[in-house]
C-alpha cells in the first residue's frame, strides 16, 4: 500500500484517531475551568453577564464533551487491535492506570455533569457550583491519568521486567510520578487553557466584527485576553523546563527538535557552543540541514543556560535509534511560533486596554479571529513533537515500535484506517457544524440554559437531553 508497511499504517491510524480525539478533551479541560470561573464570578458579583456567558458556553461544552467521549471509545480498543505486543507487555502497568481513567471519568460524568447541565433549578446555587467544580476537577483528573500513562511511556520508572517479558509495577508511586510527568501535566493543562482562551477570544472578536457585541461579548474578549497575557508567559517557561527535562531523559528528541546533528567539540571556555537553528531543511540521508539559518551560541543559552555548553548531536546515535527528524523539527517550530504569536496578542491586548481601545480596534479583532484555532494547533504540534520524538520506541528505551505490533498484515490495517477516516470525517463534519452554528450566534441577555424540562439521560457517558420528541409535534423540543 504506497510502500507503507503495517507499522507505518498502524502508527498513522493511532495518530489519526488520537489527533481527532485530543482536541476535544483539551476543549473540555479548558472550558470546564472557564465555566467554573464564570459561575464563581456570577455567584460573587451577581452580575447577569456572567450567568449569560456561563449558559452560552455550557451548551457548547455539552456538544464538545460528547464528541470527546465518542472519539475516545475506539482508543481504548486500539492498544489491543493494532499494538498487541505493547498491550501484553505494558498491560500490568498501563492497564490499571487506564482503568482508573475510565472509572473516574465514568463517576464524574455520570454524576456531576448531569447536575451541571440540567440541575440548575433543582439543586440550588451552591450545590450546582460544587457540581461545576467537580466537573472541572474531573477533567483534570482524567488528564492526570492519561498523562501518567503517556509520561511513563516516555520516561519509564518504578518497574521491573518479569520472566515472561512483561513490565511489572515495582513501585506505583514511582510509576505515577515518573520523571517527565509533572512537566508534561503542567504543559498540557496550560495548553488546554490557552486553546480555550483563544477560542473564546476568537468567538468574541467575531461578534465584535459583526458589530453585535453586547456586554457579554466584551466580557468574553476581555477575559480571554487576560488569560492570554498571564498564561502564555507561564506556558513558555513551563515549556522551557519541560525541554530541559527532556534533555536529561530523551536527548535524541531534543537534538531532533533543534535539528542538531553534530556535537560541537568540547573545549576551552569560549568554544563554539550550540547555535540555535531558526530554520533549515533536515536531510536525514545526509545527516545535515539544508538552507540552514542559525544564531551562534543561542542554543547553548537556551538549552544549557551557558555561553558555550553543548548537547549531543543526532550523529551520536546510530541511524536506527534516531527519531524522524523533519516532523519533529518543523512541528516544534510551529508550536513555538504560535506560542510567541499568542504572547504578542496578549501584550497587544494589554496595550489596547491601557489606551481604552480594546473593543474598537478592528485589526486586533481580525488578529484574534485568525488566532481562534492557534491554541489547538500548537497543542497538536506539541504532541507531534513529543510522540514522534519518542520514536523508534513505544516505551522509551525499552520497547521498540517495530516490536510492539499485533500480527496484522498491512492490508488489514489499511482497511480499518480507511474505515476510521470515513466514519470520523462524517461524524466530525456534522459535530463541528453544530459547534460552529452555536458559536456563530452571540450570547444574549437572559441566555437560556439547556432545555429545562426536557428528559435527560443520566446514566451514560454523556448526560444530555434524552432526545425525546414532543408528542404534540413529533419534533425535538
Amino acid at each position: 500500500m504506497f510502500g507503507l508497511d503495517a507499522a507505518h499504517l498502524a502508527r498513522m491510524q493511532f495518530a489519526f484517531t488520537v489527533g481527532f480525539h485530543i482536541v476535544f478533551p483539551a476543549f473540555s479541560i479548558g472550558l470546564a475551568s472557564y465555566l467554573m470561573v464564570l459561575e464563581a464570578l456570577w455567584l460573587r458579583t451577581g452580575r447577569a453577564v456572567y450567568h449569560d456567558l456561563f449558559r452560552y458556553w455550557l451548551k457548547i461544552f455539552a456538544v464538545g464533551f460528547a464528541m470527546g467521549v465518542v472519539s475516545g471509545v475506539p482508543m481504548s480498543y486500539q492498544f489491543g487491535t493494532n499494538w498487541g505486543v505493547f498491550a501484553d507487555k505494558s498491560g500490568p502497568i498501563v492497564g490499571p492506570l487506564m482503568g482508573y481513567e475510565v472509572l473516574t471519568a465514568f463517576f464524574l460524568e455520570a454524576g456531576f455533569l448531569g447536575i451541571m447541565l440540567f440541575g440548575e433549578r433543582r439543586v440550588g446555587r451552591t450545590a450546582h457550583f460544587l457540581a461545576t467544580v467537580m466537573v472541572a476537577g474531573g477533567t483534570l483528573f482524567s488528564a492526570f491519568w492519561i498523562l501518567v500513562v503517556n509520561s511513563w511511556m516516555q520516561t519509564p520508572a518504578g518497574y521491573s521486567v518479569g520472566a515472561n517479558g512483561q513490565y511489572l509495577p515495582a513501585d506505583w508511586w514511582a510509576v505515577i510520578f515518573n520523571p517527565s510527568f509533572p512537566y508534561r501535566f503542567v504543559h498540557m493543562v496550560l495548553a488546554a487553557y490557552l486553546s480555550v482562551a483563544f477560542l473564546v477570544g476568537g468567538v468574541g472578536a467575531y461578534h465584535l466584527l459583526r458589530e453585535r457585541g453586547g456586554e457579554a461579548v466584551r466580557t468574553m474578549v476581555a477575559m480571554a485576553l487576560w488569560m492570554a497575557l498571564l498564561a502564555t508567559p507561564v506556558q513558555i517557561l513551563a515549556g522551557d523546563l519541560h525541554g530541559l527535562n527532556t534533555l536529561d531523559y530523551q536527548p535524541a528528541k531534543v537534538a531532533a527538535m533543534e535539528g542538531d546533528w553534530e556535537t560541537p567539540p568540547q573545549g576551552a571556555p569560549g568554544g563554539t557552543g550550540e547555535a540555535l537553528v531558526l530554520f533549515g531543511l533536515p536531510d536525514e540521508a545526509a545527516a545535515r540541514n539544508r538552507a540552514e539559518i542559525a544564531i551562534p551560541h543561542l542554543g547553548s543559552l537556551i538549552l544549557t543556560h551557558s555561553w558555550s555548553g553543548t548537547i549531543k548531536g543526532l550523529k551520536e546515535w546510530p541511524a536506527a535509534d534516531r527519531p524522524p527528524v523533519a516532523p519533529v523539527f518543523f512541528a516544534f517550530r510551529v508550536m513555538v511560533g504560535l506560542g510567541f504569536l499568542m504572547l504578542a496578542v496578549g501584550l497587544a491586548g494589554l496595550w489596547l486596554r491601557w489606551r481604552g481601545r480594546l473593543y474598537e480596534c478592528r485589526p486586533m479583532h481580525w488578529a484574534m479571529l485568525a488566532m481562534t484555532p492557534a491554541g489547538f494547533l500548537a497543542l497538536l504540534s506539541g504532541w507531534t513533537v513529543t510522540e514522534i520524538g519518542r520514536q523508534p520506541f513505544t516505551i522509551y528505551g525499552l520497547l521498540r515500535t517495530a516490536d510492539s505490533l499485533s500480527p496484522i498484515g498491512a492490508p488489514g490495517v489499511a482497511v480499518s484506517l480507511a474505515g476510521f477516516v470515513v466514519v470520523y470525517v462524517i461524524v466530525y463534519a456534522a459535530g463541528i457544524t453544530i459547534l460552529l452554528r452555536m458559536m456563530g450566534r452571540p450570547p444574549l441577555p437572559g441566555e437560556s440554559g439547556p432545555p429545562p424540562g426536557a428528559p435527560m439521560r443520566t446514566a451514560g457517558l454523556v448526560p444530555g437531553p434524552a432526545g425525546q420528541l414532543d408528542p404534540a409535534t413529533g419534533r425535538s423540543p
Binding site: 498491560g91 490499571p96 455520570a110 457517558l461
Partner: protein, 337 residues
C-alpha cells in the same frame, strides 16, 4: 490481599460487566434492528423515545468490559483483539455511527435527512449485533496462540459456526427489542411487536438448540464438561430451564402480559451466558489461555480493585436511578400528529 483470589474476582467482575452490556445494550440495539420492520415515522419516533434516556448508559458497560480486560487480563486482551480484529473494528465503527445517527435524526432539517439517519441507525445497530455475535463465535471456536501472540490468519473468525452465532445474536437482540417495546408501548405498535416476538422467539429457540449442540463439538474439553460426569450435574439443568422459560414466554405472549416476555428473554440470555461460562471456564481464551495465565500480576489487579470497589456501586446506583426515572409507557401521543 493474599487471601483474595484476585484473578477469579476480576474474571467475575468482567463477566458481569459483559453480561450487563449484552442485556442492556441488547434491547436498544434490538430496537434499531426492528427499524427494518417498522417503517412508519410515528412508530420509529416512539421506538427511539423508548430507549433515548438509557441507550448511552447501556454502552458504557462495553468500555468497562474492554478497558477492564486490558487492565487486568492484558494477555487475553492482546490476543483476542488481533484475532478478532475486523469484527472489533467493525463493531466500534458501527456503534459510533449508530450513536451519532441516533442524535442527528432528531436534528435533521429535512424528511430525506431523517430517513438517511434512520437507515444509518438500523444498519449500525444490525452491524454491531452481527459483529458481536461473530466475535463471540470466534472466541468460542478457539483462537490459535503461539507463545504470547495470536498465531492465526486474517479470516479465522469467519466460519459457519461464527456466522450462526452472529445471526443468533441479531435474532436475540431483535427479540429483546420487541419484548422491550411490548412493555414500553401500546396500541398497534405493541400488537405488532407481540406478533414479531412470537416468531423471533421460535427462531431464537431453534438457534439456541443448534449452537448448543454445535459448541461441544468444537473442543473435547467442552464435550467432557457437558456430557461427562460430574459436569452433567451442573449442565443438565440449563436446557431444562431454557425449556421452562419458553413455556413462560409463550404463555406470557398469549395472555398479553406486558413484562413477562421481556423478562423471559432476559432469562434466556442469562442461561445461554451461563452455558458459555460452563463450557469455557476456567479458560479465558480457549483452547490455551486460562484465567490465571492471562491475569496481570496481583499488584496490578489489587491496585485497580480498590478503585472498582469504591466506584462500581456508585455507578450501579446511578444506572438504577436512571431506569426508575424513565419507567412507564412512552409517548403514545406521537401517534396522533
Amino acid at each position: 490481599m493474599s487471601t483474595l483470589d484476585l484473578p477469579m474476582i476480576w474474571a467475575a467482575l468482567i463477566a458481569v460487566a459483559v453480561l450487563a452490556y449484552v442485556l442492556l445494550d441488547g434491547f436498544d440495539l434490538g430496537v434499531g434492528i426492528l427499524f427494518w420492520r417498522e417503517r412508519g415515522e410515528a412508530e420509529r419516533d416512539v421506538m427511539v423515545n423508548s430507549v433515548a434516556p438509557v441507550w448511552d448508559g447501556n454502552e458504557t458497560w462495553l468500555v468497562l468490559g474492554g478497558g477492564g480486560l486490558f487492565a487486568v487480563f492484558p494477555l487475553a486482551y492482546a490476543v483476542i483483539m488481533p484475532a478478532l480484529y475486523p469484527v472489533i473494528i467493525g463493531m466500534l465503527l458501527a456503534l459510533v455511527f449508530r450513536g451519532v445517527a441516533f442524535e442527528f435524526r432528531f436534528k435533521a432539517a429535512s424528511e430525506g435527512g431523517r430517513r438517511a439517519w434512520d437507515f444509518a441507525f438500523a444498519l449500525g445497530s444490525t452491524a454491531a449485533a452481527l459483529c458481536q455475535g461473530l466475535a463471540l463465535g470466534g472466541l468460542l471456536q478457539g483462537i490459535r496462540v503461539e507463545g504470547r501472540h495470536y498465531a492465526g490468519g486474517w479470516w479465522d473468525w469467519l466460519t459457519p459456526f461464527t456466522v450462526l452465532c452472529g445471526v443468533a445474536l441479531v435474532v436475540g437482540y431483535a427479540l429483546l427489542g420487541a419484548t422491550w417495546l411490548i412493555w414500553r408501548t401500546e396500541g398497534e405498535l405493541q400488537a405488532r411487536c407481540r406478533y414479531a416476538a412470537g416468531r423471533l422467539g421460535a427462531a431464537l429457540l431453534g438457534l439456541i438448540v443448534v449452537v448448543s449442540l454445535w459448541t461441544p463439538m468444537l473442543n473435547p474439553a467442552f464435550r467432557q464438561r457437558w456430557f461427562g460426569w460430574p459436569g452433567i450435574l451442573l449442565t443438565s439443568p440449563v436446557p431444562i430451564l431454557v425449556a421452562l422459560v419458553a413455556v413462560l414466554f409463550w404463555r406470557g405472549l398469549a395472555r398479553r402480559h406486558e413484562v413477562t416476555p421481556f423478562l423471559a428473554t432476559l432469562v434466556w440470555f442469562v442461561l445461554c451466558y451461563a452455558g458459555l461460562g460452563i463450557s469455557v471456564f476456567p479458560m479465558m481464551v480457549p483452547p490455551s489461555i486460562s484465567i490465571r495465565d492471562a491475569a496481570a500480576p496481583a499488584v496490578s489487579q489489587a491496585f485497580l480493585l480498590v478503585g472498582a470497589v469504591v466506584l462500581l456501586p456508585i455507578i450501579l446506583a446511578y444506572v438504577g436511578y436512571a431506569y426508575w426515572v424513565f419507567r412507564g409507557k412512552v409517548g403514545a401521543g406521537a401517534h396522533y400528529h
